[in-house]
Amino acid sequence: MTKASTSILFLVAGLIAVPGCAGGVDDGEAPRSAAIVGAGADDDPAAAAAPAAVRDWRPWVAAELDRLRVERAAYVDEVMNLPVRATRAGFPRITGPIVRDRDAAPILIHRLLTAGESAEVRAAIVDALPRTEGDFSAAVAELITTETDERVRELLSSALARAQAPFALEGLAVGLTDASPRVRAEAVRSLGRRTDGASLATGLVTALGDGDVVVQQEAARALGNLEVRSAADALVGALASPDADLRRHSLRALSRVDPERARTLPQLQTLRSDPDPKIARLADELARP
């Protein structure tokens, strides 16, 4: 890890509450959310088979490249030159049988760092890393601190949803404070998908008051997914937002973090008449005995 990135991680470390530590997981409850976890953290055979992530990833990538150039030279060339392809949505991706291989991870990281490719291609490389099921966690967590392109950082934030702990949380803590709202929103989404995402509950509650309404919406959804009970007051506050999507996500999140409070909410009657039919419908459902 570079000194610069170490410093940044140190600065954001205050946002990360490690489970088991004081001020850690909200209310001391174990998170009951996403299946996307660190290696070996559940009983899925595939996950259990994943090796632990390497923190000192640069020498590891170099060593893996050396090994693969001997053992699978053609494959290295293939991955290094694998073209991106346009998805139906228009943005490029790297997919397919060639990248469904753990050995693709160090090659793709090497390509990301050395090939001098466009930001669009580098974003596609980052997007492909989780599909390798290889080790990319520490690399992605560090690179989000140094990457200059917004789109690439956005994809780095996304890849961290499938990265191993503790690197994922280190990287996502950086993502939460990124200058770009797109990156912050993606970091919030990734946290909402992780079983350990509530470790950054404080950052998520902060994101509920972000200056960008999409970040706010995603924070409400993540807090609901992670059932962060301490976020209830903030979610109630967000019900007054002029943004309909934020009101809806906040109401639904509240129904997940504190169902009883959601059902008895004084604002519920008003929300049943909300001009947004989705909110009105949700409020109706919650008001039913």
Partner: protein
């Protein structure tokens, strides 16, 4: 005539002769055509009138003393087609040229022989800019001329009768022609009013017979669709063609680039249109290279540099014939994703609205990463159904039911690397995934189904709820795409004796070679009508992982089955 057309004619040195400029050599009755204005009436209220298909016979007294001659002054209404294809393949739309041998998109009005000295007067009203009537291959009588619009003309038909040729330069335009038989003194003997109308541009629906099917064939680092190509070829034989992918840089999204539409005429004409999307990716030239020609034109609505994902034609679909609140839509209703100012380009949306017969419906597709209506809905034929079809819509609770019916330890061979879900348990235990999908059902799919019921006139028995799960797409701003390959994104290929469905193989199983062990396939087979032949094809690498499925990667032409002038005029 549009200015563009005039300029072209001048540049090519081709000019239209008009009745106004041409000396009539058949009896001296021709007058200069008058331009502009006019109300289209015969100008002689005392004259006997007939119209359309009604029969009226009049006795014309010849002023030359040859005695009375009975003339049947009866004409069929004209329901024609736009003539902007290129039948002579000279690189120019036929509307911009004189009538030539081989031109087959005009309609004919036969004029009877008239007694010597008698003549015919034509008065055209309506859309003069897009209707033209010829009285010879190079002689315009009325309508759009060489930079002018002619409303009236008089001439003497040939001694054994003549033909008027009606040509349309646009979709769904209307006019009326009053044809008056004049005696030698110029006195009106009889008049007939004829309706002139060009076909609306009509989109195909899934119940129409298959004519031809295309898929772009690729074999690249990201995967191969050879197996899918083989499945199509086996089922459809020579009705199927693989488009060479390398020629189009691997752009496999052939559904998105083009929409096939048709126009038909009451004299047997058929004019196909390829609506060419402003998407303009690598496949853009394919229609011009492979499809355009006599009988088929390629046209575009919208501004290419304003293109969005909603301008791809997976976002432009059409229902089978429906009746809604007592109104019959015999060509179905078009539907596409658009909300407020977001969605399909307004120029195309307006064009579709203007066609009248398919009453477009706008749906909310903003929640999807790609944003197309074919990601969550389709129609399949079912002769046993009350309406002859079923509406298929993605359904989340149906998917959870499938998952809960199988062992949670079932390994999902294809889902571990590409989606992060190596087992059924990993899906079931993902609270965020469950919340995402349950919320989509409540906020998006349920309202869309309610809208479909209202605007397609559906009832519960018409609906198939297809097990479907979605996931958030990396870097797509929270937009979602299919997690389990979108089986709803299917192709219906009705043949003479059987109907094939081409559906994404969900691969929701351990043994990839054993489709019989797949609970999603079993669930869909249980829901599908027995009359359909499903083919679950491998679209995983080439389409699914790039956020599309089988329908996105296929396009097809189909045979029109109804005549709009017989069943659709109430909508025009």
């Amino acid at each position: 005539m549009a200015k563009r057309g005039v300029r072209w004619l001048l540049a090519m040195g081709v000019g239209f002769a008009t009745g106004a400029c041409k000396d009539d050599d058949g009896g001296g009755a021709a007058e200069a055509g008058t331009t502009g204005g006019g109300d289209g009436s015969s100008g002689d209220p005392s004259v006997a009138e007939s119209s359309g298909d009604s029969l009226a016979t009049a006795d014309g007294e010849s002023s030359t003393g040859d005695g009375p001659t009975e003339v049947e002054w009866v004409f069929e209404d004209v329901y024609g087609v736009i003539n902007v294809d290129d039948d002579d393949e000279n690189g120019s739309a036929d509307w911009l040229q004189v009538i030539f041998d081989g031109e087959d998109d005009h309609s004919v009005i036969p004029l009877p022989a008239l007694p010597p000295g008698h003549s015919a007067r034509l008065e055209l009203a309506g859309d003069l800019e897009h209707i033209r009537i010829w009285r010879g291959p190079t002689s315009i009588s009325v309508g759009a001329g060489d930079g002018e619009f002619f409303e009236t003309d008089e001439f003497t038909p040939e001694s054994d009768g003549s033909e008027l040729w009606v040509e349309f330069g646009a979709d769904n335009v209307a006019g009326s022609l009053i044809l008056t038989h004049l005696d030698a003194d110029g006195t009106a003997v009889e008049s007939a009013e004829i309706v002139l109308r060009s076909s609306p541009l009509i989109l195909n629906h899934h119940l129409q017979p298959t004519e031809h099917v295309w898929v772009v064939e690729v074999n690249a680092g990201y995967g191969s669709n050879a197996d899918m190509i083989a499945d199509y070829a086996d089922a459809l034989g020579n009705l199927f063609t693989a488009v060479p992918g390398p020629q189009y840089d691997g752009d496999v999204w052939i559904q998105d680039e083009f929409q096939f539409a048709f126009a038909t005429g009451s004299q047997g004409q058929r004019a196909d249109t390829v609506i060419d999307s402003i998407r303009d990716r690598e496949l853009d030239p394919w229609a011009e290279q492979a499809i355009e020609g006599p009988g088929t034109n390629v046209r575009t609505w919208g501004v290419p540099n304003q293109a969005t994902t909603w301008d791809s034609f997976g976002n432009l679909e059409n229902s089978p014939p429906v009746t809604v609140d007592g109104v019959e839509y015999p060509f179905g209703r078009v539907y596409y994703g658009r909300q407020g100012t977001l969605g399909m380009h307004s120029q195309l949306a307006t064009k579709l609205q203007e066609q009248g017969v398919q009453a477009p419906i706008e749906m909310d597709t903003m929640w999807l990463c790609v944003g197309h209506v074919d990601e969550f809905s389709t129609f399949v034929p079912d002769p046993s159904a009350p309406k002859g079809f079923r509406f298929v819509i993605s359904d989340v609770p149906a998917a959870w039911a499938v998952l809960e019916d199988v062992s949670s330890s079932t390994a999902l061979t294809r889902y571990g690397a590409d989606h992060g879900y190596p087992t059924v348990r990993s899906l079931l235990e993902d609270t965020a995934l469950r919340n995402l999908n349950d919320d989509l059902q409540a906020d998006e799919l349920d309202p869309i189904l309610a809208q479909a019921i209202a605007e397609f006139g559906l009832e519960e028995a018409d609906i198939i709820r297809l097990p479907s799960l979605f996931e958030s797409v990396s870097g797509c701003g929270g937009g979602v795409a299919s997690l389990v390959p979108g089986m709803v994104n299917l192709i219906v290929a009705p043949l003479e004796t059987e109907t094939h469905l081409f559906i994404a193989d969900p691969y929701f199983r351990t043994d990839l070679d054993d489709q019989s062990s797949d609970p999603f396939i079993a669930a869909f087979n249980d829901l599908l009508p027995d009359t359909l032949i499903p083919h679950y094809v491998d679209d995983w690498d080439v389409y699914h992982l790039a956020m599309g499925e089988v329908h996105c990667g296929t396009n097809m032409t189909q045979t029109p089955t109804e005549n709009w002038w017989e069943v659709g005029l109430h909508l025009l």
